[in-house]
Structures are given as structure tokens and as C-alpha cells.
Symmetry: C2
């Protein structure tokens, strides 16, 4: 049975992992006969957003502890991730990918990437194992790799940032998966396009399907 | 197009709404050609649980604000729910249903139910519109209605509490839906049984399917 590592960035679209993308990535893996373990870095969130008002709350939350909500407690510190234990690695999206796992939301093409995230991605690249990234996550993949073909949908500003990092951006519609055959990177836009939850299911399912097909 | 109201109890299995059940209820509704709006009561959570350690955290969180994470901000205060605006009402599970929407987790058959939750359920009963409840939520439905046939899976203690409230409990397996034809109540065990995410998808999908079939 093929085993995925899923890396989360908190719990909630505006300051953490996008919950539908994370949940439907898990379902897509399970429905296609594979299994998964969940990881997140043990770091503070950049901030906490009230998801009704969009305003910052005077609180601090931890990315690993909040991610555990999506994982029902069954989660590991990202520093315990080893490429040798897995067949594939995948990052759902949400602003947490651009605020906690990286600083893409604030610095665009000058973003930093969390050291453990970078290490996990580089170890999979070295092992020639597939890496998936949904929504905004392809942006930090481009920051790590540089010359890589990805999609974040059709957002011009983010697409330009990816090109400035050395990447190639492909415009896509719902459910499309862009495959970089060199780096084995699989990306799909999900909520970077205006979407309903069925379109997120298509995107997550198709990305996992393309990754599994490669592993056959 | 048939319209469901989904009522959430926070964000996370141990102190709020179970995230997979909530997300997959949304997906089940959308995939079967219906639509939904999301509601939650504007009340403090009973407590906040660290989902890794299982221990209480010294924080306060609000049920409506945390539920908004699952709803991507698109949520209404439960006091704005009117049965006349909807064809069906559904409650995903999670401990929040037994700690925030009711006190079933602490008081069993002597539990209180949040007044707005009770009002929403009673208004749907009066309108003869279907009510769905997953996981532990059927317990507070039994507390409101009394003589109703439901399932929470196979947990003996909870089943006995439901019988003590005047209800009838039916033991079930994954994906089973118990239908009470008198009250139009549709229930399925989901994570009240040891489950993987595909089994939750079956439970949520089958419950929504049974409710839609009734509405034809």
C-alpha cells in the first residue's frame, strides 16, 4: 500500500491549513487505496484570524497543535519526517502555507521557507518521490526548487512571483493537475480559484490520482 | 434545488465539530445536487482541548467564530435560522455536540440542550421537514424529542442514555442510516464507531441521500 505524508499548516483557511483541502486530500488518498500520516511543524502561527470578521485576534496558537484538530490528534512533528518512510508527500493549501510554512503571503518571490518544510521537500526530490501541492502551496515549492512547472490557478500576482523565483506558471481551471516530470511535482489550484467544495474534491482527487499513477 | 442548514459546534473533534464529518456533510450535499448554509450558536465553548495531549488549555474560544473556520467565514448565527428558509437540517458530530450544543457529555440522559438548537429542531419537526444527525448528535435529538428512533453506533452507555430519554436505540455498522418515519429523523454512527475517513464519507453520503430521497 502506497503511503503519503500530508503536511498541514494549522487549522483554518485564513491563518492555517484550508480545512476542506486537507480533509479531501485525506479522503482522496484513502478512497484510492493508499494510506497517510499527518505532519506539521511545531512552530507558532504567524497570527490568529477571526474567520468571520477577517481581523487579527490577540492570541497565539501553535501550528502543530491546531493542525492536530484536522488530524484528530493523530499527527507528528515535521522534524520526524523521513523520506524513506513514505512514497509521496503532499501539501494542502490555505494561507497557513504562505504565512506559517513560508512567508509567501508577505514577501512574494523574496519569501523564506520553513527549514523543516524545505528539508522534507528536498529529501523527496533527492529520493525521486512525488510531491503534491494544492492551492497556494505550489508557490513555496517554486521557492525551494526554482526551475519547476506549477499552477496556482490564474492569480496574476502569484503567478508572476513564481516566475520571479525561476518557476514556470501554467494557468489552469478547476480539477486540472500540472505535472512537472523532471521534479515529480503535481499541483492543482483548488481554492486559489473561486470554488465550491465539489471542485476542491475534484482537485484533490485528481492530484492524488496522478501521483499514484506515477508510482505504479 | 434542495437547501440544507448545517449546524456546527466549533472546530475539532474533542471540543467542537468533528472536522471530517462537517466537511464530508458539505461535500455529500453538494455532490448530490443540493446546497447548504452553515450555522452555529454564538456562545463560548465549554472548554478548549489540546488535540495532541487531550488536555484542557487555558483559553476561551467562541463556537460561532471557531465554526467559521470550517465554513471559510460563510456562516450565520444560529439565532438567524428559520425553518421556512430550508428543506432540511443536519448536525455533524464531534464532542462539541455533547459539550457546546448540549451537555450530553457530562450529564447523559439528564443533559440540557442549547435553547437555539432546541428551537431549530422543534421548528423543523413542526414543519415536517427532515433532520439529520451524525455521530453523537442523535443523543441531543433524543433529549429534545423523547420518543424517537436513532443510532449512535454501538456504544452501550450512550445507547442506554438515549433509552432513558425515551428514545429507541438501534445498533448499527458503518454507513448504516436509521430512519424515524414519524419524526423524519435520519441518523448514522460515523466516528462513534472506530472508523477511517472513507467510512465517514459513506455515513455522511448515505444520510444525505436518505434525506434527499424523502424530499423527492
Amino acid at each position: 500500500m502506497k503511503k503519503f505524508a500530508i503536511v498541514l499548516a494549522g487549522c483554518g483557511v485564513f491563518d492555517g491549513a484550508e480545512i476542506h483541502e486537507a480533509t479531501l486530500t485525506m479522503l482522496a488518498i484513502k478512497e484510492q487505496g493508499a494510506e497517510y500520516e499527518v505532519f506539521a511543524p511545531d512552530i507558532p502561527q504567524h497570527h490568529v484570524i477571526n474567520h468571520i470578521t477577517g481581523k487579527e485576534m490577540k492570541e497565539t496558537r501553535n501550528v502543530l497543535i491546531e493542525s492536530a484538530r484536522i488530524a484528530r490528534g493523530d499527527i507528528k512533528d515535521l522534524k520526524e519526517f523521513y523520506a524513506s518512510d513514505f512514497d509521496a508527500l503532499i501539501f494542502p493549501g490555505g494561507f497557513g502555507a504562505a504565512k506559517n510554512l513560508s512567508t509567501v503571503a508577505f514577501k512574494g518571490s523574496d519569501a523564506e521557507v520553513n527549514a523543516e518544510v524545505e528539508k522534507a521537500v528536498k529529501s523527496m526530490l533527492k529520493a525521486k518521490k512525488p510531491i503534491g501541492a494544492l492551492c497556494i502551496s505550489p508557490a513555496f515549492i517554486a521557492k525551494i526548487i526554482g526551475d519547476v512547472k506549477v499552477t496556482i490557478g490564474q492569480d496574476e500576482g502569484t503567478a508572476q512571483a513564481i516566475e520571479a523565483m525561476g518557476g514556470t506558471h501554467i494557468d489552469t481551471e478547476h480539477g486540472d493537475v500540472v505535472v512537472d516530470d523532471e521534479n515529480l511535482v503535481f499541483t492543482s489550484p483548488c481554492y486559489m480559484l473561486e470554488a465550491d467544495i465539489s471542485q476542491i474534491w475534484d482537485g484533490a482527487y485528481n492530484t492524488v490520482e496522478a501521483m499514484l499513477k506515477f508510482m505504479e
